[in-house]
């Protein structure tokens, strides 16, 4: 939810571009085609609030919105597979909800390769959701490569947190 608000704000704060000097500056405006107002149903809030005693419970898994990966890999391991399963079940139960999968990498290696790797990670999660029955029109993927780290440090622990796909409703 917070993320959605943030996105809306980002949508409003569109680029400013500096224009020709002199008296009559023609300021090239950037067309705002932002999708900040994208409607996306009720969100997953209800599933997140109730905390199950069973640590492998569906609510707990659904509360996890990040799928993590090994270095230079887009393979989803068993722990993360369980999270994707829970989200697939949620999407199957709530057919009006769409999902955005944002692929991210750690900072190591080159930005362009990481952009491609982030996409591969997002597609990897998308593929699994589709296998579990979610129709492709409800899934959108985007890669941010190494551009949007959640941990700002430069240690192995930071990198592990940053190699992720964000599941966003």
């Amino acid at each position: 939810m917070l993320r959605k608000i943030l996105f809306a704000l980002l949508g409003i704060a569109v680029l400013s571009l500096t224009a020709c000097g002199g008296g009559e500056a023609t300021k090239p405006t950037v067309e705002d085609k932002s999708v900040g107002a994208e409607s996306s149903g009720v969100g997953a809030g209800t599933g997140v609030d109730g905390k199950s005693l069973d640590t492998q419970g569906k609510a707990d898994l659904l509360a996890k919105r990040r799928i993590h990966f090994a270095f230079d890999s887009s393979a989803i391991d068993d722990d993360n597979r369980a999270i994707v399963n829970a989200h697939a079940a949620y999407l199957m139960a709530n057919k009006n909800i769409k999902v955005v999968l944002e692929g991210n990498t750690d900072e190591r290696g080159t930005r362009e390769y990481n952009l491609a790797l982030g996409e591969r990670r997002a597609e990897s999660v998308a593929r699994m959701l589709k296998l579990l029955g979610v129709t492709p029109d409800r899934i959108k993927t985007v890669s941010y490569g190494e551009e949007k780290p959640v941990a700002m440090g430069h240690t192995e622990a930071d990198w592990a947190l940053n190699r992720r796909v964000e599941i966003i409703y």
């Binding site: 500096t18 900072e107 080159t110 362009e112 491609a116 996409e119 941010y144 551009e147």
Partner: protein, 439 residues
């Protein structure tokens, strides 16, 4: 002829300053490794006339330029036995005594309306002759540009190769606001001075690529919250979207003649390399592989394109003909080689080479297949050659912050370019500027 060329160079920069806003933060250069044994050159403080002092110490800029190149050693002024400012005052033996091999003298005089006349002369001490002498009349804020042009002339006369002091660099800065990051695409002189912001965004910017005429930058912007390719005229600021397909639109690389752009698109399912004709935006697909194919770069003769692919399991550099045929792998050392680009003579690639979790800017000598690591930093990105092939500029991390670094292609001279605050990344060195802007 030369003067006309220089004048047009000046015009390019003047126009650039006219449309863009001055940036607050400036890149500062710190020489982290110098060399002994540069050509000893005496640069005499320039003379003047009248009480008015020029707003820029032209001789000091020249001295800093030449010292930074690593190919000259500027002699300590304390040993000078004379301080000539014009031709009549030059006595060659004064300079043989201090072991200077070259001498630079000059003067800066005010003329009307805040303009200045700059004269300089370069001498070969042993041959006892003048190698170059020029006069310029410019506004006060152009004195640095004149100094860089003089540095270029000196460099070329003494080394036989063109200097890059009058070229510029484009790069991306990231600063933190109260709540978010702010990204700026900036262009500065090659010594970091006169930065101007040509684009502001709250979303990431990457991969700026200069057109061969130095007039346009192609780059990737996430302003629509996905990677879309833009092209911007750096003279008047107009910009357009050039690729906005589903998926990734990125990794722009101009063909040497500027008529085509190689790029990466994942519109057909996974990242592939395409070539776009700039005349009609038509696309030709060059790669077709389920692996990641990205980071294309043209050979200087336009016949080949190198790119990064993980079709062998890990990212490595491959080479193909410009029509996509004859793909061959060119890197075999290390478990991560990416973002290759050619040296201006086509004999080397600079690339990011990773092994044991360390990522260095490196050189691959194409003839011998020798891979030469250039740096001791471990998170290097985006290396590219200076247009004369003598330096490699790249991004790295120092003290937790993004900085730019340069290293001479022989590995002997190293510099850091950093901001007072925030990160700087994605450097791209401009080409030499030869064309005349038509307003």
């Amino acid at each position: 002829m030369k003067a006309v060329q220089q004048l047009t160079k000046l015009m390019v920069v003047v126009l650039l300053v006219a449309y863009a806003t001055p940036a607050s933060a400036i890149l500062t250069i710190e020489i982290t490794q110098g060399v002994d044994g540069g050509l000893p050159i005496a640069i005499v403080p320039f003379g003047g006339a009248g009480k008015e002092r020029p707003p820029q110490d032209v001789a000091a800029v020249i001295e800093a330029d030449l010292a930074r190149s690593g190919r000259f050693t500027a002699l300590d002024k304390k040993v000078f036995v004379a301080r000539p400012t014009d031709d009549k005052q030059v006595i060659f033996k004064d300079w043989r005594i201090v072991k200077a091999e070259a001498l630079v003298i000059g003067n800066v005089q005010p003329v009307a309306q805040g303009r200045w006349q700059v004269e300089f002369r370069l001498y070969d001490i042993y041959k006892e002759k003048q190698l170059a002498g020029y006069s310029y009349v410019v506004a006060g804020d152009r004195l640095r540009a004149v100094a860089h042009q003089i540095s270029d002339i000196i460099y070329e006369k003494l080394t036989g190769e063109p200097g890059v002091f009058s070229t510029r660099i484009a790069y991306v800065t990231r600063e933190r606001d109260a709540k978010r990051f702010l990204y700026k695409l900036q262009i500065a002189d090659s010594d970091g001075y006169n930065p101007v912001t040509v684009l502001n965004s709250v979303e990431p910017l990457l991969s700026p690529a200069w057109s061969p005429d130095g007039m346009r930058l192609a780059y990737v912007s996430f302003e629509q919250r996905r990677p879309i390719l833009y092209m911007q005229n750096v003279v008047h600021g107009s910009r357009s979207r050039i690729a906005e397909f589903n998926g990734i639109n990125s990794a722009p690389a101009w063909s040497p003649d500027g008529t085509k752009l190689a790029l990466t698109l994942s519109r057909d399912g996974n990242p592939e390399i395409y070539v776009m004709q700039m005349s009609d935006n038509s696309l030709t697909r060059l790669t077709n592989n389920p692996a990641i194919d990205t980071e294309p770069s043209w050979s200087p003769d336009s016949k080949e394109i190198v790119f990064t692919s993980d079709r062998g399991g890990k990212p490595q550099i491959y080479r193909m003909r410009a029509d996509g045929s004859n793909v061959e792998r060119v890197t075999f050392e290390g478990d991560y080689n990416a973002r290759a680009s050619y040296s201006p003579d086509g004999k080397m690639l600079t690339l990011v080479s990773g092994a044991q979790g360390r990522y260095h800017a490196a050189l691959l000598h194409l003839q011998s297949a020798v891979l030469q690591v250039l740096t001791d930093t471990t998170l290097d990105e985006s290396p590219s050659f200076a247009p004369n092939g003598r330096m490699i500029l790249y991004a790295t991390e120092r003290g937790g912050r993004g900085v730019l670094a340069s290293v001479s292609s022989d590995g002997r001279v190293r510099q850091l370019l950093k901001l007072q605050e925030g990160d700087v990344r994605e450097p791209a060195w401009s080409p030499f500027i030869h064309t005349t802007p038509t307003n």
